[in-house]
Symmetry: C2
Amino acid sequence: MDDNVAVIGVGLGKVGEHWEKSLRDLAIESIWMAFEDSGIDKVDALYVGNMSSGPFVEQEHIGALIADFAGLGPIPAVKVEAACGSGGAAFIEGYMGVKSGMYDYVLVTGVEKMTDVLPSKTTSILANASDRDYEAFHGVSFVALNALVMRRYMHEFKVKREDLSIFPVISHKNAPFSKHAMYRKEISLEAVMNSPIIADPLSLMDCAPICDGAASVILCSEKKAREFTDTPIIVSGVGLATDTLGVHDRKHMTTLSAAVEASKKAYKMAGVTPKDINIAEIHDAFSIMSALSIEDMGFAKKGQGTKMALEGQHYIGGDLPINLYGGLKARGHPVGATGVYQIGELVYSLRGDGRVDAERGLAENIGGSGATVSVCVLERGD
Amino acid sequence: MDDNVAVIGVGLGKVGEHWEKSLRDLAIESIWMAFEDSGIDKVDALYVGNMSSGPFVEQEHIGALIADFAGLGPIPAVKVEAACGSGGAAFIEGYMGVKSGMYDYVLVTGVEKMTDVLPSKTTSILANASDRDYEAFHGVSFVALNALVMRRYMHEFKVKREDLSIFPVISHKNAPFSKHAMYRKEISLEAVMNSPIIADPLSLMDCAPICDGAASVILCSEKKAREFTDTPIIVSGVGLATDTLGVHDRKHMTTLSAAVEASKKAYKMAGVTPKDINIAEIHDAFSIMSALSIEDMGFAKKGQGTKMALEGQHYIGGDLPINLYGGLKARGHPVGATGVYQIGELVYSLRGDGRVDAERGLAENIGGSGATVSVCVLERGD
């Protein structure tokens, strides 16, 4: 209990439309990369973050499946699901597995195979993250829900659409550097503004793409980690919280109260405040979610979530660089895998990739339209 | 870390075909029952055991959904999935939540709503627990997989069909006492033998029914539990293990190696041997699984799994009474909920329900055709 938990291995598979690979192929590829990165070759447990393998590829029981095909059996292996927040939630379970003393080495794999079904079906499957009886039943898609929140935010805080369109530009700015990213190119504000409207006021380029991908990280105690590396990355704080599933049930449509709650927990556990965070991986599934996240994790006052972005503070060199490997928008958003990608990317940045000299960062992973939020604070252990 | 984990509340909803209730209704009903049973009214985290809410009711994200509708937000809430072994796996995550010191009080809810789709679709959804690419793809249903294992077992150990048909009789024997059971009646060996063949040699009454249900239990440290009760039920050992997903990949088709592994872990943690177990909740989804479970958890030699059953030792009064509330066969098998029902039933028996005086028992929950097995040892804390 007294020992810290550290990340000692990262494997981030290329995100894209992988017609030629199955869910298990993707997962195992990332696992091999994480093993190679860590220097170890076995673990005591596997947690799989995944949203919808049942509807997407007609396969449940993927904890055991992946453990089996990765040659890891008979280790305990389960899937953890919290919609698009599955990866972050699985990571926190893995953290607890080590922290509780149950396991010495834990593998956390996030995986999603979204492109094996027709796009119309994808929209329906993603709507399973919202409230089927009170939201999706009325024909409100997941993009539409986010559009409603964005419209309200623009009204409430007198924010223009172009002020929010800056977020995809920021994420894409870092994408050329990101080898595993789906779209490795920069985009202009004009490109976002002029892209087709999907659900007014959200345009195509405000939305993270549908794709396939898998990411893995390996956890152990700091003490054990020091046998492998002089610069382990420590998990100093984790927080997971929930909110109403339906957006209409919230006190304030424009507040992610689960992000408020989860970040408070994570800061408290890490003994830090937002000021101590140098970099952040933000859940930019839709531009509006970036602004709300920045505010609700304490980096800006309510309604001011675009201020730092417009000042250029979220680029490398600014006060709070975000989404250093492209974020959900450019790296891609294979839903249940995203949270694990974020952790891996944060580890890369903290280890030092020649771009930022950051001591501490956080990863924020959102499930649904904000009903689940996890926040993890990681820091250099040197 | 030094403190034991105890169960202080149980709520077992009636199992059946609940056309008039939704997944969330069922879950919340059992949560209220568990709160009432425990004497507390809030918890720090929720783990939901569920296999296939996506395909069955087009709803994912049910951790947050259930926390929301039960009025428990903003607590952390995730779904844990391991096919039909989801309930047991969720229980073990809940156990670790308390053991790690992350949470003081944890609620574990198992829920499955299976009857909202047509039976043909149910068969397909259940096949997602097997290997879609190497088993289900070839048209092998879940029942068929179990039938193949049974046929091999009968051949290998010269066991007759009627020797295995005793297991449903044993489970049904206890069902009239079980208020939450789906089928509250005894059945005869002849009835099992003469019921229609589903997949030779498995007959209808060898198979647990498709149904809806939800069960909840509340966990906390033994120290805290003693503020509520003088007879807390202690979780003294847990084990979770995996095997190949495909039956054809196993070294021995008739050995549940995950049950061997999981039970060894649980016994070791509890500091006991099979001889110290007084009662057991066995995963009798199919008669053959009962025999294999009895063997592979160390209660009988290989090939001798029906011996105690035929001697009457699994009835109340025998050496190892099993499935005291009807087992999967008579209580019903709402897949992802089953593991939590088993824990709740074990708690009832250990608290003392006027039928057995047991000090220690175990619950065995199987996912798929044995690719995931959890074993939990519980004992009286007095």
